[in-house]
Symmetry: C2
Subunit: 345 residues, 2 copies
């Protein structure tokens, strides 16, 4: 059986609370006792029981992280960045993949509450109002990442998607595009809905017409969320419209699928259709043609989010409850200026 504090106390010839004090530094203990206790710990290979500690102190050293799918690179990066920062604090992390399902999200929120996590980081805007309520009711602070800035998330760090959409439209406009298609993976998280909305607004700012006929949103397959495949499938719609000058895809991986299909049909990118994505996936600069994309500061977002959460856990009031970060456009060959503006032809 694993040794307990009692065993350590016995071997060191002190009381069990004294061992607790030595380990946690919660009382001034004489050097000689500290030494005896540490020796006993060493000898027994004693490892404190974090579970019992949490039960008594009513505080765990765990936070929950909820993302749609760690299999998606964007979220994998986010999770990694969060984990690396939490580790420094000695905090463990429960990983929860909700697969864009309201029910799974709610189940996970319940479970996190059961486990008395210190706080939660959510990689999107919670789908269920009930999830939010439960966390609030149980006094568990939550910070949302990568949401749309207009939502009701109390604490959040996000990328300015209005700016992001403007960057995209502005760039494509300058590159000569007048009919711009928006292609999105399923809009299972609110930031994707926002991106679409801001895209429409941006078109207007540039005096371009928005037309649903050349905006295509993929259906959520749930069982197999493969962005490339979804992009490949959606591209069939693009092929039906020969007036489309450019495509703004909701993510790079989705764009990869689109590019693949268009190339199969002999379409010249960018001369016939310009394409850009979003996320600056590592592969975006390797695909042919290299993909124009918009970089989002995932690490910074995660870093600020964790800092905010840690402050909230300590009961501090935050100066900023909502932090907005700027994206950056990375221009590559997939949106090189058309040789001649179609409008002039």
């Amino acid at each position: 059986m694993q040794p307990t504090m009692k065993d350590v106390a016995k071997l060191a010839g002190v009381s069990q609370p004294t061992v607790s004090h030595v380990i946690n530094g919660t009382a001034p203990i004489s050097e000689s006792v500290v030494k005896r206790v540490n020796e006993a710990i060493e000898q027994l290979g004693y490892i404190p029981n974090a579970t019992a500690k949490s039960a008594k102190s009513r505080k765990s050293q765990i936070i929950g992280i909820i993302v749609p799918d760690v299999g998606i690179r964007f979220y994998a990066e986010m999770v990694k960045a969060i984990e690396m920062q939490l580790r420094k604090q000695g905090i463990m992390m429960y990983l929860c993949n909700t697969l864009y399902s309201n029910q799974l999200e709610l189940d996970y929120v319940r479970t996190l509450i059961q486990h008395h996590v210190l706080g939660v980081i959510v990689g999107y805007s919670l789908l269920e109002e009930k999830s939010r309520q439960l966390l609030k009711k149980h006094g568990i602070p939550a910070v949302s990442l990568d949401v749309d800035g207009t939502t009701h998330d109390e604490y959040r760090v996000f990328v300015d998607n209005q700016m992001l959409a403007r960057m995209a439209v502005s760039h494509l406009y300058d590159a000569g595009a007048r009919v711009i298609s928006y292609c999105s993976e399923p809009m299972g998280v609110n930031v994707l809905q926002a991106r679409y909305k801001y895209f429409r607004n941006a078109l207007q700012e540039y005096g371009l017409e928005f037309d649903e006929r050349w905006c295509f949103i993929a259906q959520n397959p749930y069982d197999d969320y493969n962005k490339m495949k979804m992009g490949y499938n959606i591209a069939a719609n693009i092929l039906l419209h020969d007036n489309i000058d450019a495509v703004f895809a909701s993510s790079d991986e989705f764009a990869f699928g689109i590019i693949t299909r268009l190339k199969e049909h002999g379409i010249d990118i960018p001369q016939q259709i310009q394409i850009m994505g979003c996320d600056n996936d590592p592969f975006s600069k390797l695909i042919s043609p290299p993909l124009t994309t918009i970089w989002q500061p995932i690490n910074k977002m995660a870093g600020i989010g964790v800092s905010m959460l840690l402050s909230l856990i300590e009961g501090k009031k935050l100066e900023e409850t909502s932090v907005c970060l700027e994206p950056n456009i990375i221009i590559r060959e997939s949106t090189l200026k058309l040789k001649a503006l179609k409008a002039d032809v």
Copy 2:
């Protein structure tokens, strides 16, 4: 404050142990009491305290998963597959990224023990013997995934890397290659060392000469484990040897970097150099030229691993403590037969 069992008991007019029995089904309780208790639970929004439960029952509902880096797609896939299966069992998952560091691994193992996890899944062969000992000492079952079959991991599910290396060499040989370079990311996990070793053996089987002069192993940068970048850098060495017919890269992402650099130098793939990778990364079929690679059954590996762990947790003896899975070669254009065998020129 969050309601406890006591509060529920009070409201329902029963004792606290009775509430426990209703919730856990650990005793036959009359329908009327069950109803009253459930109503009280509903009314108070009571959520059981898993922490206290673990403290008392000395059993958590948590397993730990240790991988080098969830930012690497291979591990992200693995983690996702594991999580999806555990969720069905109502088990939570601590995610630990060890970044190929012995110290971080050991720290995490200690922390997992502190938290009294039911078991651990390790996505490689533990680096520290001490990690293994600690887990054993504390009676925590561990299943290793993606290891080399000749190691001392007691329970493991792995891909036959001898077969994998043979497939690669055999294919390249058939495609006309006689001088084959092996290029590897840092061999921070034992399966990569094994892959290299089996590659050498396979060369011998085909009567080919192994020569370290055209085998290149990247250094571990630790702070920024970017496979593509490492592949790009290592490719400088390939350029120095004009006798190399083909390159077998330890992973697709690593191969992407190599391909990028070779193409920059005007090298025709596969006519001048054939390249193949490993993992069947989703991009491997999009890159130009599409990359020949070897698919590994990650989902199956994770699935069997989790099943094994769950059995061990239940105290069952396993029929198979070591499961070996077969890889599959996927042939694409990056290793098309050379027009003429170099040997004939």
